[in-house]
């Protein structure tokens, strides 16, 4: 059962040294009674709270909290290409994503809020996710900018960003095939854990991030950089999809409530 996490980046180690020690002391991620560190059961998500339309200047914006991970997403566009025109696609819109973390988002102050390797990779993942979900063919020769900022980081940064950006894209009125909902799952003691928090992520769990279009059950992105036995992969993906569907219900609720508020304001 070689579920050994191989850390690819040294950055991760440097960022969370005390958690590494904590793991050596043997933090019990799933107790015999089935409780996780923060009191959740294996399949329970963290509390998700969200608001749409938090900024007036942008075309769309949203703020989303998933447990203690907080993200702000802003969408501009679709608008005409800016910067290098060579990237223009004549049959579809180009999606431009930028991910950044606030310097105060982690327990120790971050030196470089964006542009490091990890952020670049995350931006790329976001881009791939939204290219799969947004109906880009409706806006040829144009560009959609999605900016996401992590205000507080407590695990599952990618999924929180996706969820926040989905709301922002909807707020901007850009047509999408479906909500994109993302969730991380980990595998501990033969049990999949939904929606990992930071302590769990750094505690030596093989984790998997999955972005799903829930209605059709299509996977927009699946990412895993830990070792996991092949036999367990299916169960893990299954758990991730269930979790994503849970997230989608919450997002749907948020969108409907937002529409209600807006329609009251505009008097329709």
């Amino acid at each position: 059962m070689g579920n050994v996490v191989q850390r690819r980046t040294r950055g991760a180690l440097r960022r969370c040294p005390f958690e590494v020690c904590g793991n050596m002391a043997g933090l019990e991620l799933l107790s015999d009674q089935g409780y996780r560190l923060d009191g959740r059961k294996a399949t329970e998500l963290r509390k998700v709270q969200a608001r749409m339309g938090v900024f007036a200047q942008a075309d769309g914006s949203a703020y989303l909290e998933q447990g203690n991970t907080k993200a702000l997403a802003v969408v501009y566009g679709p608008h005409e290409m800016r910067g290098s025109r060579s990237r223009t696609r004549h049959d579809q819109a180009v999606i431009n994503c930028q991910y950044s973390m606030a310097t105060f988002s982690t327990a120790e102050r971050k030196r470089r809020p964006h542009g490091d390797r990890k952020s670049t990779e995350m931006s790329l993942h976001l881009k791939q996710t939204f290219e799969a979900a947004v109906m880009t063919q409706l806006y040829p020769r144009s560009q959609i900018d999605i900016y996401v900022k992590i205000l507080q980081s407590d695990g599952g940064n990618y999924s929180v960003c996706v969820n926040a950006a989905t709301l922002a894209v909807i707020d901007a009125g850009i047509p999408m095939r479906d909500y994109v909902c993302a969730c991380t799952v980990g595998f501990v003691d033969e049990t999949p854990l939904a929606d990992l928090c930071y302590a769990e992520e750094s505690g030596g769990v093989s984790s998997l991030a999955l972005a799903l279009l829930p209605r059709g059950g299509q996977i927009a992105l699946l990412q895993m950089d830990a070792r996991l036995h092949q036999d367990h992969l299916e169960a893990l993906i299954e758990a991730a999809m269930t979790a994503c569907k849970g997230v989608s219900k919450v997002l749907d609720e948020v969108v409907r409530q937002h529409l209600q508020e807006v329609s009251v304001l505009t008097g329709e």
Partner: protein, 1048 residues
């Protein structure tokens, strides 16, 4: 469904403080695990009974320091809080935490875990400025209150704490929730539970002592875990660079005396690190996993190959190769167990004033340092053996601190010594509990046990069709195997059947008996059964003339070639017709007149017919067994020599004689059938469950271990080929000295010493070529035939049942254990078996010592015996005494530097002189001339007992003549054993020659597996061989030398 809360944690790393915010989810519904619950909690698993007077909620401090008291099974209704569990994990480390977890999981203890911090109403957030201890106590109290309210006030809840402030603060807040101290609790509720009271005072005294420790450093501090971890990682890297100092992840594996330790690296056990002296040892205790830093090469020390006498090292280091030497820098995992210590007699040297209660007790195990015990009973406990636990070993203290747990009795008494052996091997043999006995079926004269007609219908009925009989030692009660053989299909086929007691029918998986079972422990004078007597001696025992359930393996063999046609596995009903014992069966085979008790009352004609039938069956069986043995011999099965002597006791438990076991061919026959059954069952379960079958493998020995054997054989003019088991077996057969039959026996004993140990394992963990059983030369092997006595067999029975169900297409209904669970189980059984063997061996030594202790070595002729030299050391010889099965050292040089000189008539005396040591001989030179001792020389030794008050007694051998010992009257009863051994070896030599001539019809050689302490035979050859290997005195040296050669 969930409400979020947040808590703040302050954690530091590298000196810096980091503030971490963690979520904390609370819920209303947290199971309470009480059968009184009114709120429909989801109480799956074990629940607290409702018929107790109160529930106990121990405070954090109590769980951390007094967990041992809570482990008493008499204490019922204990509710552990999550707060307390986390505190244990935090302060005491993983080992203690796992102990707590196992306690909670154990269905025999009435205790549950309540996740109080996740319960909305019992959780209390830590207030600003509140100390951690205060907060934890508040949490526990609030959990206690919640419990009381949750059960609607039906049950009083007692919170026990060591914090007097808490008692004062909380005791009067709520009716029904009492807060009292542990001492009050024990006095009020358990006044009669004396061991708990003693344990309590012993622990609390140890705690007090700890507080008043001085601060003077005796040892260097251990490095913190991160540095060790990083060092191990980088150390591997540096090792490749061949630097002189690097960190090695090392494990205590072997060690000599308490100041000298030998470690083997975990990653690569082929070499070892020596740690000398208490400073370098740095508080490591035998069994710990530690990190070692190698010292520069100039400080490496050599391993002494000379015989050591007590603490004194008599050899010089310069001629032996230096070993890697290191010092302990950190301890990764403590592995403390219960130790037996002896309180020294009061001699006035112990300080009387302030520390008058502190005693330095000497552990029975020489490898363990002295332990400091605080006790008020020091006077009463003089010269008593006491079980202690080590609490801590601070860097400020020269010795570890411990507390006493239980008094065993006065040192030197037999009962005390036997208990000591059990505890030192971590063997717990509590009597069967009432709950366990309640699970058992009843079989009494008023309510006789009957077979269930449903079961009978499901099983194959062999009662009428087959002649089933058992062969066991005389007086054996637990008959777990029977045999049957008959010819079918008009004589063309033979049907051989092995019928094993169906223990799994009575012992359900997960039942209390199943949980308690491990193995039956055989000591020299007693045994501790694995199963209650109603099963082991009655319902599972396949006694003669009664109907019993059995698990059978039946082969259809070709009558001529004895090739297997068909194998049938299944559950059966049998009735054993004859319950024979070995001597009787052998007599029947030899055609000697023998009285079979079952036939005593029959008419003569009928009797003769029945006797003929039985004789026929026995002969066929012997024929088949010979064939099977020959088949295995062709594959390379080994025949090895074991030393075994059993103590004959009279009614008062005094030892009257030491008798070597006597082999009969019928032993061999039965053993061979059992090996065959085990082999076929192993095949069956492995084929059905390729990833989760429990098998037994015997890895080939390391070639280096044969060095001594090969060299000794060379000195005697034989060559031994050790490349394969076949080559080894053949060359051992050839190495026969016609003058001295004991030579072959010696060589076989040495080969046995080199063997590795057979192990249980789960097939999912090893590749198939690793399944091989070296000693038996079988590709797959398991244990199936003794379910009454071994737990592994029960597991195999369950697997076989499941395999049969799979074959029938029916689902067995219950999932069989996964590979991981099975492997854990196998590890557990292995360690238990090792412990059992060690205990058995130690008890044999104990009885040998008791035997000679009663005799005066100067006058009693039984204390003078013939010995054969089997190894040569720098200052002495290692000899084997065939008469008593004793191995031991004989010194040729004493502490004054005098050497042994042989006179004209061979008698030896001490004189000043010198020793010269060659590879195959050793000679002493003194004023009387030179005398030489060679390998395989016979000498005469006097046996006496060297007594120590705090350790086990050992035998002392003293050379009195370099001529073979001639007993004055060869017909004396005590020399019988020896002459028989000689006869046996002569016969073996003849057999070996016969085999070379007529291969097809060769007589099977004698193996010794079934001669374990008057039990019925077991195919476990290697349990015995292992025992021999441990009896070999200087094992340590062999291993160390091997390590040196491979490391350098």
């Amino acid at each position: 469904m969930i409400k979020t809360e947040k808590i703040l944690h302050l954690k530091s790393h590298r000196g810096r403080k980091v503030r971490v915010v963690r979520e904390h989810y609370l819920r209303e519904r947290v199971p309470c695990y009480s059968s009184l619950c009114q709120a429909d909690c989801e109480n799956d698993g074990k629940v607290l009974p409702g018929d107790l007077t109160h529930y106990v909620v121990p405070d954090v401090g109590v769980v951390v320091d007094f967990l041992e008291i809570l482990e008493f099974r008499e204490l019922q209704g204990v509710v552990f809080t999550q707060t307390a569990c986390q505190a244990v994990q935090h302060c005491k480390g993983r080992r203690q935490y796992n102990r707590l977890r196992n306690l909670i999981k154990d269905p025999r203890h009435d205790c549950v875990l309540f996740a109080n911090e996740f319960q909305e109403y019992s959780y209390c957030p830590r207030e600003k400025g509140e100390s951690q201890e205060k907060w934890q106590t508040r949490c526990v109290y609030s959990a206690a209150v919640w419990y009381h309210n949750h059960l609607a006030g039906m049950k009083d809840v007692v919170m026990i704490t060591e914090d007097q402030d808490a008692v004062a603060e909380y005791s009067s807040l709520n009716a029904g929730v009492y807060v009292i101290s542990v001492q009050d609790f024990l006095q009020n509720f358990w006044p009669e539970l004396q061991p708990a009271h003693e344990l309590y005072s012993s622990i609390s005294q140890a705690l007090q002592e700890k507080e008043s420790e001085s601060s003077q450093k005796e040892y260097t501090e251990h490095l913190p875990a991160e540095i060790l971890e990083a060092g191990i990682k980088s150390g591997r890297y540096i090792k490749v660079q061949n630097r002189s100092t690097h960190l090695v992840h090392a494990l205590f594996s072997l060690l000599d005396v308490s100041s000298l330790l030998l470690f083997c690296p975990v990653s690569d056990p082929s070499w070892a690190v020596l740690v000398c002296g208490n400073k370098n040892r740095n508080r490591a205790v035998h069994g710990d996993t530690v990190v070692v830093e190698l010292l520069p090469k100039s400080e490496w020390r050599g391993k002494v190959t000379a015989l050591s006498e007590g603490e004194e090292k008599s050899g010089e280091d310069n001629e032996s190769k230096p070993m890697p030497t290191g010092r302990v820098v950190g301890i990764l995992q403590r592995n403390w167990r219960d130790y037996v210590v002896t309180f020294p007699p009061r001699d006035g040297t112990q300080s009387q004033s302030r520390n008058s209660q502190r005693i330095l007790a000497v552990p029975w195990d020489r490898r363990i340092p002295k332990i400091r015990i605080s006790t008020q009973q020091a006077d009463a406990l003089q010269d008593h053996r006491v079980v202690v636990r080590i609490d801590s070993w601070e860097s400020t203290s020269l010795y570890p601190n411990g507390h006493s747990v239980r008094v065993l009795g006065r040192a030197g008494e037999m009962e005390t010594e036997v208990q000591t052996i059990l505890i030192e091997n971590c063997i717990h043999v509590p009597p069967f509990s009432d709950a366990q006995l309640r699970e058992m079926p009843v079989n009494s004269p008023e309510k006789p046990w009957r077979m269930d007609p449903v079961q009978v219908a499901e099983r194959r009925d062999l009662r009428e069709t087959h002649l089933v009989f058992s062969i066991d030692p005389r007086g054996c009660e637990d008959v777990d195997d029977t045999l049957s053989v008959r010819s079918i299909a008009g004589g063309k086929l033979l049907e051989l059947g092995v019928h094993i007691a169906d223990v799994t029918h009575f012992v359900a998986e997960g039942s209390l008996t199943d949980l308690e079972a491990s193995t039956t422990y055989y000591l020299a004078d007693r045994r501790y059964d694995m199963l209650p007597a109603v099963l082991s001696a009655d319902l599972c025992s396949l006694l003669g003339g009664v109907d019993r359930y059995a698990m059978s393996v039946m082969w259809e063999l070709d009558a001529q070639t004895l090739a297997v046609n068909k194998v049938w596995y299944g559950r059966t009903v049998i009735r054993s017709s004859y319950q024979l014992h070995y001597e009787l069966a052998q007599a029947l085979l030899n055609g000697e007149p023998a009285e079979v008790p079952e036939l005593a009352r029959l008419e003569p004609e009928e009797k003769d017919a029945k006797l003929a039938e039985l004789n026929q069956a026995l002969e066929t069986l012997t024929h088949v067994a010979r064939h099977l043995r020959a088949q295995r011999d062709r594959g390379g099965a080994l025949e090895l020599e074991g030393v075994e002597v059993r103590a004959q006791l009279d009614e008062q438990r005094n030892i009257t004689a030491l008798v070597p076991r006597q082999p009969l061919e019928v032993h061999e026959t039965v053993a061979e059938c059992m090996i065959y059954a085990n082999h076929w069952v192993a095949r069956k379960i492995q084929e059905t469950f390729p990833h989760q079958a429990l098998l037994r493998r015997h890895p080939p020995p390391r070639q280096e271990f044969f060095n001594q054997l090969v060299e000794s054989a060379k000195a005697m003019g034989f060559t031994i080929d050790t490349r394969t088991n076949k080559a080894l077996a053949d060359s051992l057969d050839r190495a026969v000295d016609p003058q001295d039959p004991l030579v072959n026996k010696m060589l076989r004993m040495m080969a046995t010493t080199a063997m590795s140990q057979a192990l249980y394992f789960s097939t999912g963990l090893e590749s198939q070529d690793q399944f091989y059983h070296y000693g038996l030369a079988l590709d797959r092997y398991t244990h199936f035939t003794s379910p009454i006595r071994r737990y592994a067999d029960i597991v195999v029975h369950r697997l076989l049942t499941a395999a049969i169900a799979v074959e029938r297409g029916a689902d067995s209904g219950r999932a069989i254990a996964s590979n991981k669970e099975l492997e854990e189980l196998a590890q557990h059984i292995n360690s238990k078996n090792r412990a059992a063997q060690r205990a058995q061996k130690l008890s044999t030594v104990l009885f040998q010592c008791l035997y000679f202790k009663e005799r005066d070595p100067q006058t009693d002729p039984q204390c003078v015996a013939d010995a054969i030299v089997y190894s040569i050391r720098n200052n002495g010889l290692l000899v084997y005494i065939p008469e008593y099965g004793v191995k031991g050292p004989v010194y040729l040089k004493n502490r004054e530097g005098q050497v042994v000189a042989a006179g004209e008539d061979g008698s030896c005396e001490w004189q000043s002189g010198s020793l010269r040591h060659y590879s195959d001989r050793i000679s002493t030179t003194s004023s009387c001339g030179t005398s030489t001792f060679r390998l395989c020389d016979h000498i005469t030794v006097r046996i006496s007992v060297r007594s120590t008050s705090s350790h086990a007694d050992s035998l002392n051998l003293e050379i009195i003549s370099n001529k073979p010992h001639r007993s004055a009257e060869p017909q004396q009863p005590h020399s019988q054993g020896r002459s028989q051994l000689v006869q046996e070896v002569v016969r073996q030599a003849e057999e070996a020659q016969q085999q070379a001539q007529e291969k097809a019809a060769r007589r099977p050689k004698l193996s010794r597996e079934e001669r374990e302490f008057s039990q019925s035979k077991t195919p476990n050859l290697y349990s015995l061989l292992e025992e021999v290997r441990e009896l070999a005195l200087m094992d340590l040296d062999t291993a160390a030398r091997v390590c040196v050669t491979s490391a350098s």
